[in-house]
């Protein structure tokens, strides 16, 4: 057997792959569910916090900044582990799935709040003044003038962050979530063969490459001339 054949036999073993394909597919479903939940709740909460912050209520802003900085500095894995293994001592016992979802949603909330906030504050004061001088209220100005401009500025950093954090769903393996990486590594130890890991890698590419390409397309589409 040549070196090449051995390599293929080890990493792309057809028999092993076929056997564990259903596991990897079900892992993909779990990853997709997790990712969608994280993106929707994380970005939604991040935007909500940025909007609250724009109201400029001092004590509230200190609280927002504290929470945001906390979740930006803690490693996501630590948050997941604390929630899964620590929270039960305080009462609620979230599943591994829920722990992973909430932890990463908090992290995405924290990072996206900062990005949304940076976008809002980067809009020149003159935009607010022009709008307010024609009689639009604070809220009308925020939603019609400021946010549409801020969103365009936030799309590149936001998509990068969102992709990075949703890839963190792989951390769910440590709390027994059966997402792609979890399925791949248990298949690997059951079959004594790394082929399932290759399938896992392929699954991530299938899931995330289109998202990355779409992000690039959105970036160019939303760029506009000043």
């Amino acid at each position: 057997m040549s070196g090449w054949d051995k390599f293929v036999e080890t990493f792309f073993n057809a028999k092993v792959m076929w056997k564990y394909l259903p596991d990897i597919l079900s892992g993909m479903v779990v990853t997709i569910e997790l990712a969608l939940l994280i993106v929707v709740t994380g970005l939604g909460a991040g935007l909500a916090l940025a909007l609250l912050r724009s109201l400029a209520i001092r004590p509230l802003n200190w609280l927002i900044i504290f929470v945001v900085d906390l979740f930006r500095s803690l490693p996501p894995l630590v948050i997941i582990v604390l929630m899964y293994f620590g929270l039960p001592y305080a009462g609620p016992a979230p599943s591994g799935f829920v722990s992973t979802w909430l932890s990463l949603a908090f992290v995405l909330m924290a990072f996206s709040e900062e990005i949304f906030w940076a976008g809002i504050t980067s809009i020149p004061k003159g935009q607010w003044e022009a709008s307010r001088s024609t009689g639009l209220s604070f809220g009308q100005t925020l939603f019609n003038v400021v946010l549409p401009q801020a969103f365009r500025l936030t799309i590149p950093p936001l998509t990068n962050r969102t992709i990075a954090i949703t890839k963190g769903t792989a951390l769910g393996t440590v709390v027994a979530v059966t997402e792609i990486l979890g399925q791949a590594s248990s298949a690997m130890s059951n079959s004594y063969n790394p082929s399932p890991l290759m399938m896992g890698a392929a699954a991530y590419i299938v899931l995330f490459l289109p998202v990355v390409v779409a992000a690039r397309w959105i970036e160019t589409k939303f760029a506009w001339k000043r």
Binding site: A130, S133, L136, V145
Partner: protein, 247 residues
């Protein structure tokens, strides 16, 4: 508060922290009057204009515009601002909207017009500034002069009772200034009450009813353009006018 002036500002003081920027300014403007405000940089001209529509909160004083007490807590400020147009040095057009979108936003959101009616009114306003054919252009596709005219259209579409101009031509290339002044002259002829901060002395001479000279947070003197430009009574006015005429 009874007043027969469309703008009646009294004893306006404004502090920014420890900086005393307006030191008791009185400004009364008649209907259809064009008042031209000149003065050195930092003398408080912009701050005064911005107090009139309460973009800046005066520290003390009273401001009545078109019979509405602007500083009364019970005044619906958004409603009052509809009646006071403002044009900025930097245009401040919304870059994510077309010219027509810029002009119709407040018509729809503040004046409560439906889309079709707002667009019809918006097109009329753009027509008045000579830009009917640019309605679908975004600000990035327009010259500075055209952008400023769209900004004027955005204000006049709301049928303001008075218009404030804060150095409307200062950011423009010299060859584009004329088109904006032309629109302002047209507005004046249509009877618009206007308060204009600008360095365009030629425009002041032949369009202003009154020139107000401000220095260091106070109105130093005011009068018809000819009197202020040819025979200023105060030394500071004379020095300022001498200075700008040398340029």
């Amino acid at each position: 508060m009874a007043t027969n002036h469309i703008v009646d500002a009294r004893a306006i003081h404004k502090h920014f922290g420890t900086l005393h920027v307006l030191k008791g300014v009185d400004l009364k403007v008649d209907e259809r009057e064009l008042v031209f405000i000149i003065g050195p940089s930092g003398s408080g001209k912009s701050t005064l204009l911005r107090c009139l529509n309460r973009l800046e909160e005066p520290s003390s004083g009273s401001i009545v515009v078109d019979g509405i007490d602007m500083l009364d807590a019970k005044t619906d400020i958004n409603h009052a601002r509809r009646r006071i147009g403002m044009v900025f040095q930097s245009f401040n057009l919304y870059p994510h909207m077309t010219a027509l979108g810029n002009v119709t936003l407040a018509l729809r959101k503040v004046a409560g017009k439906g889309r079709a009616e707002a667009e019809a009114l918006g097109r009329v306003a753009l027509e008045r500034v000579g830009l009917a054919d640019r309605a679908e252009h975004t600000p990035g596709q327009l010259s500075g002069g055209q952008q400023q005219r769209v900004a004027i259209a955005r204000s006049i579409a709301l049928e303001p009772r008075v218009m404030l101009f804060d150095e409307p031509t200062s950011a423009l290339d010299p060859e584009l200034v004329g088109s904006v002044l032309e629109v302002m002259r047209g507005l004046r002829e249509s009877g618009m009450t206007m308060i204009v901060v600008s360095h365009e002395m030629g425009f002041a001479r032949n369009a202003a009813d009154r020139v107000v000279f401000m220095d260091d947070g106070l109105i130093v003197e005011q009068g018809p353009p000819a009197a202020i430009f040819e025979n200023p009574t105060h030394e500071r006015t004379r020095a300022f006018i001498g200075q700008i005429q040398r340029h």
